[in-house]
């Protein structure tokens, strides 16, 4: 159970190699926390993250989880619940950025990215919601992106998958009204992380810890959507209305 300041007992990060997902888990760990599961395709890749979260009296483990194998989602969640208890907080953090130039050459690779970022997220998101309804509580944090707020030519496949995910997550949150559980949509800007290593940072680039802090504040204040950094909310309020000819030419990375 979460306590009065939304500190969970059990945390599950889907996409356990996500720097942001791990930062959120770290920020939400408290003496109330008993379990942290980092679910990713190759658990051995999450060893460093597991070690970085280690605390006395807390079980931290990497779990094998392939988001695209939607048939296995239910069994996976059931196993975590039966071994460690309710899913108090789930972070939906998996996703691939991909490379727009490669997508143009090989459209099938674009379909793979959309399959991970959207289709798989929908399947596991609904599965988590199903579990929340049974247990009568739970918080799902969904990592969206400002890239979905208004898509740009330089990464529109990624952006469109996040736009779809964002819309899905908001709808899922509404559908969970009255069930004791909720969804928080997180819209980070450019985040310095292993996913963006080597890329040129966009304006207002931020860090996983800033995103994690925004999540904590959002949960505490009962928000449905948080931006990280917060100023992006206002910037995109303007950018959304910038005329197309100008939008296309803006140096947004």
């Amino acid at each position: 159970m979460e306590n009065a300041v939304h500190e969970p007992q059990q945390i599950l990060v889907l996409g356990g190699r996500s720097d942001i997902g791990v930062a959120i888990a770290r920020r939400l760990m408290s003496p109330n926390t008993r379990y942290v599961g980092l679910a990713c395709r190759r658990p051995e890749d999450a060893t460093t993250a597991v070690e970085s979260l280690a605390r006395p009296d807390v079980i931290v483990e990497a779990l094998e989880f392939d988001a695209t194998r939607v048939d296995e989602h239910r069994g996976f969640l059931d196993r975590v619940v039966s071994e460690h208890g309710d899913l108090d907080l789930v972070v939906l953090a998996f996703g691939q950025l991909g490379d727009q130039e490669r997508f143009d050459e090989d459209p099938r690779s674009a379909a793979t990215v959309v399959d991970v970022n959207y289709t798989s997220a929908v399947a596991v998101g609904l599965e988590v919601a199903r579990r929340f309804r049974v247990q009568g509580h739970g918080t799902l944090v969904v990592l969206s992106s400002v890239a979905g707020e208004r898509v740009r030519a330089s990464n529109f496949v990624y952006g469109s998958s996040k736009a779809a995910l964002d819309a899905f997550a908001q709808g899922l949150g509404d559908s969970l009204e009255g069930t004791g559980s909720r969804v928080l949509v997180v819209r980070p800007g450019f985040v310095h992380s292993s996913m963006t290593a080597g890329l040129k940072p966009a304006p207002f680039a931020t860090t996983p810890d800033v995103v994690a802090e925004a999540v904590v504040t959002g949960l505490r204040n009962g928000r449905r959507i948080v931006w990280a950094p917060g100023i992006l909310r206002w910037i995109f309020t303007v950018l959304r209305h910038v005329p197309h000819p100008i939008w296309r030419r803006l140096p947004l990375g």
């Binding site: 500190e7 559980s181 009962g222």
Partner: protein, 454 residues
């Protein structure tokens, strides 16, 4: 799923940690049947929802309100006891008892608690230092246990169940009826002495002398005052007024009792509420100044002396949607230095609202999970959305344990399982008794899950 249940999101009085459960209203005769239905996530009773945290919530499970009729209240004047259904509230009870010259043995700061809740939380009041908590006055009770049996228990009969149920947070069974002792009263008024204290040392000093000679004693502390005024407060001591204490006009109808609700706070207070450090500071200043430096023998009504906040319906909404946490702990006598440093920390945090209570507890009772122990108990309300709240209470938790104290489960929304285990050395013993009466763990609550009580 039972068709009479409906899914509802519940919180405690602090409005934090919402969770959904199947909620139903039942009469005691139906309980055995309800316990036979598979629930998956257990079942717990809920009275008037006055515990501050998650004690009367059961996420994904069943939450039952047990209806009791006031027509079944039986007063035995010879033994000075009353027998009453567990769903009856102290408010309902007092409306019956007071005009007949009786008063409940213990009342907390609100009369909107049920008898079942009073037992489950083993509530205390302003008279704890001389008369103990509610459990001490319970002569017997009947409890529907996990297998559906109605079990009679008392200090002599099934004493393990009796004491495990007192303070047992509803996790041993459904209390359906109880008999407990009453206080005979001549009038429905109280005679109150007031002392305004300039600082913490003066307050502790005043409270430490003479408490044992008065039935009711409680103090308010200004937890926002700093410097010379650190720990200033007001001490009120009183007892039920005798007929001779009333003037001629009042003496004509000495047992008149008409509690009223004056205003209601609508549930539309903005997100962060109206309780901030500045508003609280102004309130505290006025609150203190309205009290005389020292006054004896002023006559007050029962509601204004015992339940001042009950005149404001839904006062919990003042904190806004984010809700609040009521932090209450006890530290033993001798730990005054620790108490002082805890108070200093709270003052430095500037998170305290005006709702603060300091009280001296008397002897503990035999119940393994009963909260009170001889010592000082401090209660303070703080907005749940405040920055730094968890960091503050965590530091306080450690100081409380170090001083040999513990936290009140009926208020708790923030401590952890480890803190409760350390604060309640008899938890294991209680768990063993509970396990015997409920081996399949039919009874469960959010509190039980969060603090790993069962």
């Amino acid at each position: 799923m039972n068709p009479d249940y409906r899914r509802q999101v519940l919180t405690g009085w602090g409005l934090t940690s919402p969770s959904a459960a199947l909620v139903g209203e039942v009469v005691p005769g139906e309980l055995a049947e309800r316990l036979k239905e598979p629930t998956g996530r257990g079942i717990v009773a809920r009275g008037l929802g006055r515990s501050y945290g998650d004690a009367a919530q059961n996420a994904g499970g069943v939450v039952l309100r047990i209806g009791s009729s006031t027509s079944e209240v039986v007063i035995d004047s010879d033994s000075g006891t009353v027998t009453v259904g567990a769903g009856v509230s102290l408010d309902e009870l007092m409306r019956i008892l007071v005009p007949k010259g009786w008063f409940v043995p213990v009342t907390p700061g609100t009369r909107f608690v049920t008898v079942g809740g009073a037992i489950a939380s083993d509530i205390h009041g302003k008279n704890h230092h001389v008369e103990g908590s509610f459990g001490r006055h319970v002569r017997r009770m009947s409890v529907v246990v996990a297998n559906g049996d109605l079990v009679e228990c008392s200090p002599a009969e099934n004493p393990d169940l009796f004491w495990a149920t007192i303070g047992g947070m509803g996790l041993t069974g459904f209390v359906v009826e109880a008999t407990f002792g009453l206080i005979p009263i001549e009038t429905s008024r109280c005679v109150v002495d007031t002392v305004r204290c300039r600082d913490f040392d003066e307050l502790i000093g005043e409270m430490s002398i003479g408490d044992d000679d008065v039935r009711y004693s409680v103090a308010w502390v200004d937890l926002l005052a700093t410097g010379r005024r650190f720990g200033r407060g007001v001490l009120w001591r009183g007892d039920h007024a005798k007929l001779s204490d009333l003037d001629a006009r009042e003496a004509g109808d000495p047992l008149r009792y008409e509690p009223r609700r004056v205003v209601t706070v609508p549930p539309i207070v903005p997100g962060r509420g109206l309780v901030g450090a500045t508003t609280s500071q102004i309130f505290n200043e006025l609150w203190l100044r309205k009290e005389p430096i020292r006054r004896s023998g002023s006559v007050k009504s029962i509601p204004s002396y015992f339940h001042p906040l009950d005149s404001i319906s839904s006062w919990n909404h003042l904190y806004g949607r984010g809700g609040f946490v009521q932090y209450q702990f006890v530290v033993p006598f001798g730990a005054e230095a620790a108490l002082r440093s805890i108070v200093e920390r709270i003052v430095a945090s500037r998170l305290a609202s005006p709702l603060v209570v300091l009280k001296r507890f008397g002897e503990a009772n035999e119940a393994p999970l009963s909260f009170p122990m001889p010592g000082w108990t401090l209660t303070v309300d703080m907005p749940a959305v405040a920055d730094g709240l968890a960091e503050l209470t965590r530091a306080l938790d450690d100081s409380v344990l170090e001083a040999g104290g513990r936290h009140y489960l009926a208020k708790d929304a923030l401590t952890s399982a480890a803190i409760v285990r350390a604060g309640y050395p008899r938890l294991r013993e209680w768990q063993e008794i509970r396990e015997r009466w409920d081996p399949e763990r039919r009874f469960c609550s959010d509190l039980a899950r969060r603090l790993e009580l069962i």
